[in-house]
């Protein structure tokens, strides 16, 4: 049975999306992409720092991947739209992760500006995946605005604190007819597996892989966890009960 994730007319086999920030060396990126199986890979757009020679990140992402530029650095919808248009014009394709953040301590997204940017960019033919604070009404508005998926945070970006917003994400999965992709905060493969068991369509992981002692092995661990969690979701987990229920027959005991 093929279990494909369909977004923006593309069929995706891997439900782990990989971010490319914070790696100690860009040379780790192709190995992590391979080890994780990721097909969707995020990048950011920044001013060239003339004092510090940087490499072009896109050259480290295998050609068969879908490159998803984010709009990080944008503080409002207008800036996010500007970044998205630049990235597309640069040949990055139609996919964009909307990220509008004006809060520097917790890096929580501005849901209101995110809805505005989503509406504009979806209208321009972008495949829009907005990063958001999990909120049902906002998710509905994002769906109406033309989002291709909704990406609620599990906990603050880069915090590795896991699925703190579990209940709100569960509601989004239940109520929103779009793929729900848990983005940000997942720190352990078990947390990614849990999100997938709940019915998340995919997860996006960056910090947990990039900052592990062995990023390539951690990329594989997340890939396996996402696959396991998805398979468990599709398999229909058994009922949770308050009291014990014997697994072995309660008859024919060898008693005196």
């Amino acid at each position: 049975m093929k279990d494909l994730l369909k977004i923006g007319g593309k069929e995706i086999t891997s439900r782990l999306f990989l971010g490319t920030g914070k790696f100690s060396s860009n040379r780790l990126i192709p190995d992590c992409v391979k080890a994780s199986g990721a097909q969707v890979v995020t990048v950011a757009l920044r001013r060239v720092d003339l004092e510090f020679e940087e490499e072009n990140i896109a050259s480290y992402v295998p050609g068969e991947c879908i490159l998803m530029p984010n709009t990080s650095g944008a503080r409002n919808a207008r800036e996010a739209v500007r970044i998205a248009r630049l990235a597309r014009a640069a040949g990055c394709g139609d996919w964009v992760k909307i990220e509008v953040i004006a809060d520097n301590r917790y890096l929580l997204p501005d849901n209101y500006e995110t809805v505005k940017a989503t509406e504009i960019l979806a209208g321009e033919g972008f495949v829009v995946l907005p990063y958001m604070s999990p909120d049902l009404m906002v998710a509905k508005k994002l769906a109406e605005a033309g989002a291709a998926a909704v990406m609620p945070l599990g906990s603050p970006i880069g915090s590795n604190r896991g699925l703190k917003t579990r209940e709100l994400i569960r509601i989004l999965i239940e109520e929103i007819p779009l793929p729900i992709i848990v983005d940000a905060g997942l720190g352990r493969p078990s947390e990614a597996a849990e999100a997938m068991e709940m019915g998340a369509a995919a997860v996006l992981v960056n910090t947990a892989i990039a900052t592990a002692d062995n990023p390539v092995a951690m990329a594989r661990a997340f890939g396996l966890a996402v696959e396991a969690g998805r398979l468990a979701y599709l398999s229909g987990p058994g009922e949770v009960r308050e009291y014990a229920r014997a697994s072995s027959p309660l008859t024919g005991f060898l008693r005196e």
């Binding site: 001013r47 530029p69 990080s72 630049l86 910090t207 990039a210």
Partner: protein, 72 residues
């Protein structure tokens, strides 16, 4: 100092003096940047590489030289 033939432009948010006649392509080349690794925004509009040669900078032009970096 602004030379007789120089003009002031803003590159990545910083004021710079460039010689009259400098093109966008020249601005990129002068920084030792490979054209295929950068993205140019000229006066808030996107310009393709094929157009860089034809754009001669004017006083107070705003140029953004950008590239893709790692990000989540």
């Amino acid at each position: 100092m602004l030379g007789v033939n120089g003009l002031k432009v803003v590159v990545n948010g910083k004021e710079e003096n460039v010689a009259a006649g400098t093109t966008v392509a020249g601005l990129v080349a002068a920084r030792g940047l490979r054209p295929d690794t950068v993205i140019i925004e000229y006066n808030y509009g996107i310009v393709k590489k094929a157009e860089w040669d034809g754009i001669v900078l004017k006083e107070n032009d705003r140029v953004e030289i950008l590239r893709f970096v790692g990000g989540g």
